[in-house]
């Protein structure tokens, strides 16, 4: 047992938990998978920060991809844009660090001053994955602080678009919370002061009646003019546009309640409706807060600027100088190092370029470029450093031109919600009843007081508080259910839109394929020894397929290769350890007719014996087949791929109508395709993942970005779906439909309460007590019903 345990702990890296390779690294009797992980451990143990590993097992992240350059942070003009505050002594900066994930991260980053003594303070906001660092200018610089972070494995994501969420959002939420606090404070006090009125005052206590009344009125003033002012301004704005939204009857109700209370209390003719008024505003604001409150801190409004680097290194007279991206102009010579992104269309001048365009074009294999060729912006250089000359400014490049499209300027059409539609009819109906009952009393017995009483009572009792709350509470419940299932929506209105979708458009690479699982599969029999030979041979070639193969085999080099021959586009051969090894297309191998299913097959021959072939196979995401089957029953499915059509045959079972599969689509094509669908009256949901889908995601009724790491970059969208939850899409859609059902039912319930109240109101019999009972009861009923029903449906849909 004990032995088994020690064996088990030996199989992964002490820092990041990755499987150990054959040649691992040792330090302090601990094993590491790479130099990066070992380096982080060394730094931490040198600074007595070993507790990092005590709070959590394997708290680190893999350090295999590294080598970042931060010279640009020394440029004052670039740094000035990034810092929050700076004076002679100190600088404060907020950085977004995607790697933050556990309490060890928190502990380490807040103890940053032990590694870099210039750091005065570092505080983490765990949920936002942000760290606010204050450092002393004398002792350290922005660059060295960032490099300290990188050295311990927490690389901040620095981009020209604000990834650090704007503080503005916080302020609007703060002011709403303040309003709720005031409304709650007034509501509580007014209830207390109203109780004597409900239970009846003895003659002795009559002197208090007007005192309580005036106090109540004093409490109502902040509630109406501070807490409720948004309802008045919103109703006014909408009336000017000729729209009757739900804020109109609400504002009307608040105003009428206040005026009638004012009159009753001043004239000492009654107690007024101040208690109902305060309760109404209090509950409404809570509903508003529920609607705005998000459970996560994801950014849904990113464009290419948050993907591109902040600065680029220019070469001028042999000297390297970092400049901000927006100063990059045509003719500049820029230096792109390994793993950096090319920010503008440019001509390759020097170096070996192999560029990964998967994020831009959806093409999954890296592309080799020759000198003098134009390299489009957005690609990531995989080999060593290259030098390029800019031919187009950043904003006019092939990829970024997409953002000049009108779709990005027009505000996305506000999603029309059920409550918008319903409130229009509701408001008109309400006004008709109010005027009708007033007219009735005028004509029936000419009693103007009673007519006014009935008119105001109708507006008070029918104030659609429960109605206004049903949507936010249902949708907020659904939002939190979706959140738990790793489907993150931008706002509550997205749920209603989701229920209306009738057309689904999928991107291929990265969206329906699993980027992790894509790879080679070997058809045939091969021994470990033969694999070794293949790996040694393929290591010599720069061809993408060879590189993929080496990665797949994951064996370190053993034998040297003699007589190495590479025929470009056909194959490679060589003599290794006395064996003749050939790797390449069937023609290269010299075999007649092999029925290989695809072009991208690599055949293997060792010592003139055919062993089989590797195929490059896309792995669909888990449950994709099931998903298309379920969705196609109720909706149209389309595929838009930036890739060539070599997967068309395999995809036919999923997309039975071949004309609904489009290949080799440019970003602009995708956008236009969605627009055409919409013009034919479809409600389109687009699933995409890369920058090339950004236009389509924006244009569609509902853009969903699919990603395997929600903290990675994802383009502008309405929702972010974690790849792990991809197979749950039909359940999400069913849940959205059920949510709309719940809203409809709760609408009916609140109408019943309104009718009940109207029964008293039209007769002019509405007493403050009835209003004060009916309003909270209806509100509580709706809140309970919507929250419970939404959760029951979620259980039915297996989302809880």
């Amino acid at each position: 047992m004990l032995q088994q345990k020690t064996l088990k702990t030996k199989t992964y890296c002490y820092h990041c938990g990755d499987d150990l390779p054959q040649n691992l690294y040792f330090y302090d009797d601990k094993q590491f998978c790479c130099l990066g992980c070992k380096g982080v451990y060394q730094i931490l143990s040198d600074h007595n920060l070993d507790s990092y590993y005590a709070y959590n097992d394997i708290p680190g992240q893999s350090q295999k991809v590294q080598s970042k350059h931060f010279e640009y942070l020394d440029e004052p003009e670039i740094a000035a844009k990034l810092v929050d505050y700076k004076d002679e002594k100190i600088t404060t900066i907020t950085l977004y660090i995607p790697a933050i994930h556990c309490s060890s991260c928190l502990w380490l980053l807040e103890n940053l001053h032990k590694i870099n003594s210039g750091v005065a303070q570092s505080r983490i906001d765990f949920l936002k994955k942000q760290v606010a660092i204050t450092f002393k200018n004398e002792q350290t610089s922005l660059r060295s602080v960032v490099e300290t972070l990188v050295s311990v494995g927490y690389e901040p994501l620095i981009s020209s678009q604000d990834v650090v969420k704007k503080q503005q959002a916080d302020f609007s939420e703060r002011s709403l919370v303040a309003k709720i606090a005031v409304a709650g404070f007034c509501f509580g006090n007014v209830m207390l002061l109203s109780f004597p009125e409900y239970f009846g005052l003895s003659d002795l206590e009559q002197q208090f009646k007007s005192f309580f009344g005036w106090l109540n009125l004093a409490f109502a003033i902040p509630v109406v003019f501070y807490c409720g002012k948004d309802y008045f301004s919103s109703a006014y704005q909408n009336l000017k546009k000729g729209v009757l939204n739900l804020d109109f009857p609400l504002a009307l109700g608040i105003a009428v309640m206040f005026i009638r209370s004012l009159v009753e209390i001043i004239s000492n003719s009654g107690a007024g409706f101040v208690d109902t008024l305060c309760g109404l505003v209090f509950f409404l604001l809570i509903g508003k807060w529920m609607q705005q409150h998000t459970y996560h801190h994801l950014s849904f409004e990113r464009d290419y600027r948050s993907y591109f680097p902040v600065a680029v290194t220019l070469i001028n007279d042999g000297k390297e100088k970092p400049v901000p991206l927006n100063e990059l102009s045509i003719g500049n010579r820029m230096l792109i190092r390994s793993n950096e992104i090319i920010p503008a269309d440019a001509i390759l001048l020097k170096g070996e370029a192999e560029i990964d365009f998967s994020f831009v074009t959806g093409e999954s294999l890296p592309v080799k470029k020759t000198l003098g060729e134009v390299v489009y912006a957005g690609g990531r250089q995989l080999l060593g450093a290259i030098e390029l000359e800019v031919v187009k400014p950043v904003s006019q490049s092939y990829l970024t031109r997409l953002w000049n499209n009108e779709a990005f300027f027009a505000d996305k059409n506000r999603i029309k919600t059920f409550s918008d539609t319903a409130s229009k009819y509701f408001s008109i109906f309400l006004l008709l009843i109010a005027i009708g009952s007033a007219a009735f009393w005028m004509l029936y017995d000419g009693n103007i007081t009673k007519a006014i009483a009935a008119f105001t009572a109708v507006l008070i009792i029918a104030c659609p508080c429960a109605l206004a709350l049903s949507t936010p509470f249902t949708l907020a419940a659904v939002l939190s259910i979706f959140d738990k299932n790793k489907f993150y929506l931008k706002s509550t209105a997205v749920v209603e839109e989701l229920a209306r979708i009738d057309t689904f458009v999928f991107d291929k690479t990265g969206t329906i394929t699993n980027p992790e699982a894509a790879g080679f599969k070997f058809e045939g029999n091969i021994t470990e020894e033969e694999k070794q030979l293949l790996s040694d041979l393929a290591r010599n070639s720069g061809h993408p397929l060879s590189r993929e193969l080496v990665k797949l085999l994951n064996i370190s080099k053993v034998h040297p290769v003699d007589e190495y021959v590479e025929k470009i586009g056909r194959g490679i051969s060589g003599r290794i350890n006395g064996n003749e090894v050939k790797l390449g297309s069937s023609a290269f191998i010299g075999l007649p007719l092999i029925n290989s299913p695809m072009n991208s097959s690599v055949h293997v021959m060792i010592n003139n014996q055919y062993l089989g072939y590797f195929t490059f196979q896309q792995q669909w995401r888990e449950g994709f087949k099931d998903l298309t089957f379920k969705l196609s029953k109720q909706a149209d499915l389309h595929l838009l791929s930036g890739d060539q059509d070599h997967d068309k045959q395999i995809l036919i079972p999923f997309f039975p109508r071949a004309q609904q599969m489009q290949f080799a689509q440019t970003p602009q094509n995708k956008l236009d395709y969605i627009r055409n669908l919409q013009n034919s009256g479809k409600k389109v949901l687009m699933f995409g993942d890369g920058l090339n889908d950004a236009g389509a995601l924006r244009q569609s009724n509902l853009g969903v970005a699919v990603t395997d790491n929600i903290n990675n970059f994802s383009p502008d969208c309405d929702a972010i779906l974690d790849g792990a939850a991809f197979h749950k899409i039909p359940q999400f859609i069913q849940q959205a439909k059920d949510a709309v059902k719940v809203i409809h039912i709760s609408f009916v319930i609140s109408l019943i309460y309104n009718t009940l109240g109207l029964y008293f109101a039209v007769q002019g019999l509405l007493s403050p007590l009835i209003a004060a009972i009916l309003m909270p009861i209806s509100t509580v009923t709706i809140i309970l019903f919507t929250s419970i029903a939404a959760r029951l449906y979620a259980r039915k849909n297996k989302l809880l």
């Binding site: 007595n48 507790s51 709070y55 100190i90 309490s103 928190l106 502990w107 807040e110 001053h113 005065a120 303070q121 505080r123 983490i124 906001d125 765990f126 949920l127 936002k128 204050t134 916080d170 703060r174 919370v177 303040a178 606090a181 005031v182 404070f185 509580g188 006090n189 207390l192 002061l193 002795l204 206590e205 002197q207 208090f208 005192f211 106090l215």
Partner: protein, 61 residues
């Protein structure tokens, strides 16, 4: 019975103090991050053998 005027005044004053305290807390950002402090409090204090760190280093700004 006139005592009631005084008592109500007291109760409202008290409630106002709490409201003001809430405003102050909200304004100084105490409700902005409600998660991190719950983790932070669980960390042990470091046992520092050599010497106490400079006080200024801890209580900055």
């Amino acid at each position: 019975m006139n005592m009631i005027y005084f008592l109500i005044g007291c109760s409202i004053l008290l409630a106002l103090i709490f409201l003001a305290a809430f405003f102050w807390a909200s304004k100084t950002g105490q409700h902005d991050d409600t998660y991190t402090p719950s983790v932070r409090i669980l960390f042990d204090d470091d046992i520092i053998e050599e010497k106490m760190p400079d006080k200024t280093d801890e209580d900055h700004i």
